[in-house]
Amino acid sequence: MNKVVKNAKEAIKGMRNGQTFMLGGFGLCGIPENTIKALVESGLTNLTCISNNAGVDDFGLGLLLRKHQVKKMISSYVGENKEFERQLLSGELEVDLIPQGTLAERLRAGGAGIPAFYVPAGYGTEVGEGKESREFNGKMHLLEYGLTADFAVVKAWKGDTMGNLIYRETANNFNQAMAMAGKITIAEVEILVPAGELNPNEIHTPGIFVQRIFQGVNYEKRIEFETVRE
């Protein structure tokens, strides 16, 4: 079984205007840089994007926002991007803000075939408006739904030709749950090796969740706030 595609352009083949896609990463950490570039170049538009953050003005998801390719964002935290905030406040961009843990669990649930579940986050706030609620163990909870997407795009450190993935440090973040939740999951990796070379004990995402994988190039890995010891 070989899931290797040539590059990002080939990986997003079949993606259409108006579709929903997920993008792994936390801030600029662990984002699929190659695929984002390919999406910008593709000119695809009217997209719904599920991503914890929205990148910064000139990097990451910010590049797609700048070209108005995204009509709706589903995120938990979108600071650090002025263009995003502008489009949101002006009503050009539709935004669904979700508590971060609820977002992560909705992805995991979506990928695990769990249609809905209860969590306490957001009860009593505007997040809970219009949602079913129920008391468990004396505490109120909201009904939340599993999330899937036409495409999930994730970034891993190492991957093999069968799609097995290993993430590095905090660059795992949303990638692991999103890898499970895509109808088609695209993985771009820093190091691509033949099947059998990764230690099966260390696999985070088993290859069954991944449909397309490619060797990424020219990773910039931009740091949002470089903070050092004084």
Partner: protein, 218 residues
């Protein structure tokens, strides 16, 4: 005299106990890490997928794959662990975190908190704050007692969109330590040189004052 940011962080650090797993929010809460008493061991959790946050890296050693929830570069302590976001919030939602410290725009005498949105002005999103306040066993708010315009941040109801209801247990401000009890705010300590009268005047809700209120020991 009212406390500065570090003073607030120092006082909150006194609430830490040996063996605690702690989540610190962005801003003043992050500073608490600098004042962990030497005789105890606490492990700091970062909701983007790290248990065991270490100090900031030395110059030139920053690793773009290793950040905290504020997207700052960090290091790890021996015995640290990495994991994905859903597992991270399983720790939080599952009640495995002993203490959460976070900032706020407003806190009420019922323990409600607003901290994430100013309609029409600032819409950055709630990040992990709603998950943390809904699930943590113990939540301390680190804040200034009044806002930039001198208006009380401790009040009877929040004007801004809520982050969570009935969840804050304790507030450490630049003026006071105040517990949120079933009967409302209760004054526990005052900042050195700050009078009970000043605290009451700058609080937008009734405050229970019982007996002599000790000064914070910093």
């Amino acid at each position: 005299m009212s406390l500065d940011k570090n003073g607030i962080a120092k006082r909150i650090a006194q609430e830490l106990k040996d063996g605690y797993y702690v989540n610190l929010g962005i801003g003043i809460p992050t500073l608490v890490a600098n004042f962990v008493p030497e005789n105890i061991e606490v492990v700091l959790q970062s909701e983007n997928g790290l248990l065991g946050i270490g100090p900031f890296p030395e110059k030139g050693k920053a690793d773009p794959d290793l950040i905290n929830a504020g997207k700052q570069t960090v290091t790890t302590i021996p015995g640290s662990a990495f994991f994905d976001s859903s597992l991270s919030f399983a720790m939080i939602r599952g009640g495995h975190i002993d203490l959460t410290v976070l900032g706020a725009f407003e806190v009420t005498d019922k323990g409600d908190i607003s901290s994430w949105k100013i309609p029409g002005k600032m819409v950055k999103g709630m990040g992990g704050a709603m998950d943390l306040v809904a699930a943590a066993k113990n939540i301390i708010v680190a804040t200034t007692h009044t806002d930039r315009h001198g208006k009380p941040k401790l009040k009877t109801s929040c004007d801004l969109p809520l982050t969570g209801v009935n969840c804050v247990k304790k507030i450490v401000s630049d003026l006071a330590v105040i517990d949120v009890t079933d009967k409302g705010f209760k004054l526990m300590e005052r900042a050195p040189g700050v009078s009970v009268e000043e605290i009451l005047e700058k609080t937008g809700a009734a405050v229970i004052v019982e007996g002599d209120i000790p000064e914070m020991k910093l």
